[in-house]
Symmetry: C2
């Protein structure tokens, strides 16, 4: 059996040789080539089409809206997500220089002497987007309309987890649909999207399985959180065997029930005064693109006709 490290290395080299990705010198950070982006854009559009065809995205009386967030969001919104409790090691907090002209001279002198100048920087007000939907909960009105809210978000996420596996990038795009409403509206949305996302991905010739997620929560306390996630069946991942059946499968989409977590932390209230529940489905655009390149080959002209027709109609 070929080792997983060898398979990561082979896949990465194939992608770079085909001009699909370019190395930047850091694990998990790639420039994307034109053909990679053409496929990713097509996947993105397909998700838009399928999403908009789903009637629960336009619930009667609710404000359906698309938001695209920049790759950083306000620190106080990040803080309310409690991400620092679960995934401190994946977090990216932006620091900058706020000193005087003489502080700057001191910084440059240290730099010229090849010494560290990190302590000249100070924490800023922004954090890398941890999950595409996180900025959303801080950007919507706390008093929700009758019927709740259905939203679509799309943007870059950051996870500090350098890896030689192209499937595990430090910066990647997620396209999400989010439902904020009553407990049953949120739960039904999640359930409906498990099947819907499976259909979408199967239509691209990907053999996806729906499995209970097992997120890498940090530290000892994290084990409890992971157990809670599993036993409460809060997150379903759609996984595909990019590196063959002998190796673990990779998630390319996930359907999450957050229950009242964001509702409580962001004081999102339904018209009857109760705390809103939420659910979201997230598609990993780079991961889906890479799964297609892995399963169907690095030349899209050679992909099965049905896949090409679905993606490039």
């Amino acid at each position: 059996m070929t080792s997983i490290d060898t398979l990561h290395d082979q896949f990465r080299r194939e992608l770079v040789e085909a001009g699909l990705l370019f190395d930047t010198g850091l694990d998990g950070l790639y420039a994307r080539g034109a053909e990679f982006e053409r496929i990713l854009d097509a996947v993105d559009h397909l998700i838009t089409r399928d999403g908009h065809a789903a009637s629960d995205l336009t619930p009667a009386g609710s404000g359906y809206r698309l938001y695209r967030f920049p790759p950083v969001f306000p620190r106080d919104v990040y803080d309310k997500t409690d991400y620092i409790e679960s995934f401190p090691d994946l977090t990216g907090l932006v620091h900058t220089f706020t000193g005087s002209s003489s502080d700057h001279r001191a910084l440059l002198a240290r730099r010229a002497a090849d010494e560290s100048w990190d302590h000249h920087l100070t924490p800023g007000d922004t954090v890398m987007v941890s999950s595409a939907c996180h900025p959303l909960y801080g950007a919507i009105p706390q008093q929700l309309p009758e019927g709740g809210i259905a939203a679509e978000v799309n943007g870059y996420c950051f996870r500090h987890e350098p890896s030689p596996d192209p499937m595990r990038m430090q910066a990647f795009r997620m396209h999400e649909f989010v439902r904020i409403g009553t407990p049953s509206e949120a739960a039904e949305f999640r359930t409906a999207w498990v099947g819907r996302a499976q259909g979408l991905l199967s239509g691209l010739g990907l053999e996806v399985e729906a499995v209970a997620a097992n997120d890498p929560f940090f530290g000892r306390a994290g084990k409890l959180l992971a157990n809670g996630q599993l036993s409460n069946n809060l997150k379903t991942e759609l996984v595909v065997h990019v590196y063959g059946d002998d190796h673990p499968a990779d998630a390319i989409a996930s359907c999450n029930l957050a229950e009242d977590h964001f509702g409580r932390n962001f004081s999102l209230t339904l018209p009857d005064g109760s705390t809103a529940h939420s659910a979201c489905v997230g598609f990993g655009l780079e991961r889906i693109t890479l799964a297609l390149l892995s399963v169907h080959g690095t030349d899209p002209a050679q992909w099965p006709a049905t896949v090409r027709e679905t993606l490039f109609p």
Copy 2:
């Protein structure tokens, strides 16, 4: 005369009321709405079309390539740009948590007590992209082919400069064309693009002027750099009066001659052994979109027919 602060506030409110942008709670950081993105995408496509029609993007023998970079890039590439010398205050260095499980408990205890936990984070390997073309110089081969390289880059940039002016965002997208070659190839590219970019933007009904740039270099040493930029005529900005003729104009694109700056710092060498020169033209996608919304109004259905036909053919 209406004060510039009032005009910033009015424009921002108009954009938010029309659902084009959404406030996030931080100055200079906005969620984009669907209609804003539709306009921005159309501007982006127009730049692609015009760019690809320009013959100097496919110089004989050169490798023309499109790259899309994620919003962060390697710290050592950032360092080689010398950006920290000129704009330390705009910089964004990503910090993360690399401690143990007990360090994490200490962090969470401080957070629970409403105390600062910043010192629990450590500097990482990534920096926010300072200019769309900066990651490029670290991603191309140092030995350039005959004819040099022409490249197209497109991605999110970050500048730490919180402002109530919607034209001054902290995170925004730039679409750039870059030419790396002989001194004359670089200089001619810059000159040609001043006229070409003016034509493109005028075609959208924007009254643009080409002016010598006056970048806000940091500190006392920065004054010298700014003087050098002006006296050597290295940067031409295309500006438009978004807030009327009584107030300063805003740059929506710029044409830059870097001479051998990046060539030296990144050891980019032409086949004859000489150091490569470079030039780039950058279009600020959010700024062009905002200029259109300011000049033609916040409802694209009411824009002049020629502008609509150019953008949405």
